[in-house]
């Protein structure tokens, strides 16, 4: 491995272990390095790649695969993903080993239980921030967007329907009400 593939691997390896909060939290760092410092991607390509990765199913972390592919093709894709996910895999593995070994320890129980409200609070924040970002367009379009977000939240919260129906309903409502 030479050149950009190796650089990609090293960059995402370094970024991996400081990316608390996942790929979304690391996007500003990626933009700084990939667009501003190294000129690997244009600003437009970066934004479009991020939008696609957010719209596509699956974890948003796959955005790093899009960056890798843009910079160095399939080798770049593999180097970026392995660099970004490898260290977190090993760390999560080690923490799982530790928690299972200390399963009976009340301090570990308190640690595990104590992180739950913070985690759920941060997940709610993610939903609110992405919901606010999606509430764009004219006044009427913003109202429709907020209504879709609200209705979807209520359906997923209070009913046992598959969230797929909420997503599909949101898409169809968008198609009908948000087309210019």
């Amino acid at each position: 491995m030479t050149g950009p593939v190796w650089d990609l691997f090293l960059f995402f390896l370094k970024l991996s272990l400081v990316a608390v909060g996942g790929a979304n939290a690391a996007v500003p760092s990626m933009h700084h390095e990939v667009v501003e410092l190294r000129h690997w991607m244009t600003d437009a390509a970066f934004s479009q790649g991020y939008a696609l990765a957010s719209a596509a199913p699956g974890p948003n972390v796959l955005f790093v695969a899009v960056i890798g592919w843009h910079v160095a093709g399939w080798q770049g894709l593999a180097a970026s993903l392995i660099g970004f996910l490898g260290p977190t895999f090993i760390l999560a593995w080690a923490v799982a080993m530790l928690t299972q070994r200390l399963a009976g320890d009340p301090r570990m129980a308190a640690l595990r239980a104590g992180l739950v409200p913070v985690a759920i609070g941060l997940i709610l924040a993610t939903g609110l921030v992405t919901g606010a970002a999606a509430a764009r367009g004219t006044g009427a379009e913003m109202a429709v967007a907020v209504l879709i977000t609200f209705a979807s939240a209520v359906v997923v919260w209070r009913s046992n329907l598959s969230p797929l129906w909420a997503l599909l309903g949101g898409g169809v409502l968008g198609l009908v009400l948000l087309s210019q």
Binding site: P57, V66, L85, A113, G114, T130, A145, S152, A166, V172
Partner: protein
């Protein structure tokens, strides 16, 4: 008060037993633990469905559909996954896979989670120029993005309802939400400040509720 042993991990879930008729049953028996192939299938489905957050779908598959783990178990693993670097659901996949099926389980869950979404995403990247200018596609994706945000919010509320946390932990959850969404405090700082506060609250509730020191 008889000193009940501080048995199943966190004391607060059991201590507040207010019945909530609308909530789906929480205490159904769990199914036998899955092997790597079942883990791969479950995480692959969750990854492919996972618009706007695969975490929502992983929880639904593991807790509600296949009943491999309890709501509390899942929430605690996700909590660890959230404070570790990297995607919370990716970290959860490693930890859940290890717990049920060791290293093969971790690889199966991780592979399932990422493989198919990666194929879909790269197909989109390669084909996107044909769709990018179609206003119908853009409008559909806009509505979908709104619904996905709502789904993430609804899922967080659903977990909270089923976990029935005491008021001090609800307050900490709301503080985390406000700090991240409104004040835009960096996530590591929120975890470093509110994490210990929350752990202290759990210990305090455990001492008060059961009379057993933590």
């Amino acid at each position: 008060m008889t000193a009940r042993p501080l048995a199943p991990a966190s004391p607060w879930v059991e201590s507040v037993a207010v019945p909530k008729p609308s909530a789906p049953p929480v205490d159904l028996p769990l199914n036998p633990p899955p092997g790597p192939a079942q883990l791969f299938a479950a995480f692959a489905k969750a990854g492919l469905m996972g618009f706007g957050g695969a975490q929502v779908w992983v929880r639904r598959a593991l807790v509600e559909e296949r009943r491999w783990m309890t709501e509390r178990d899942y929430a605690e693993i996700l909590g660890l996954g959230q404070v570790l670097p990297g995607p919370n659901v990716g970290n959860a996949a490693v930890m859940i896979g290890r717990r049920f099926a060791g290293l093969p389980g971790s690889f199966a869950a991780t592979g399932g989670l990422y493989l198919f979404p990666l194929i879909v995403l790269m197909s989109l990247v390669l084909l996107w120029q044909e769709f990018a200018d179609d206003p119908h596609v853009a409008a559909f994706m806009h509505g979908l993005a709104c619904a996905a945000a709502g789904m993430v919010i609804g899922n967080g509320l659903r977990m909270t309802g089923r976990l029935r946390p005491p008021p001090e932990l609800i307050a900490i959850g709301i503080a985390s939400t406000l700090a991240a969404a409104w004040l835009r405090v960096p996530l590591p700082l929120i975890v470093l400040v509110l994490g210990p506060v929350s752990i202290a609250a759990v210990v305090w509730r455990g001492r008060r509720g059961t009379g057993v020191g933590a």
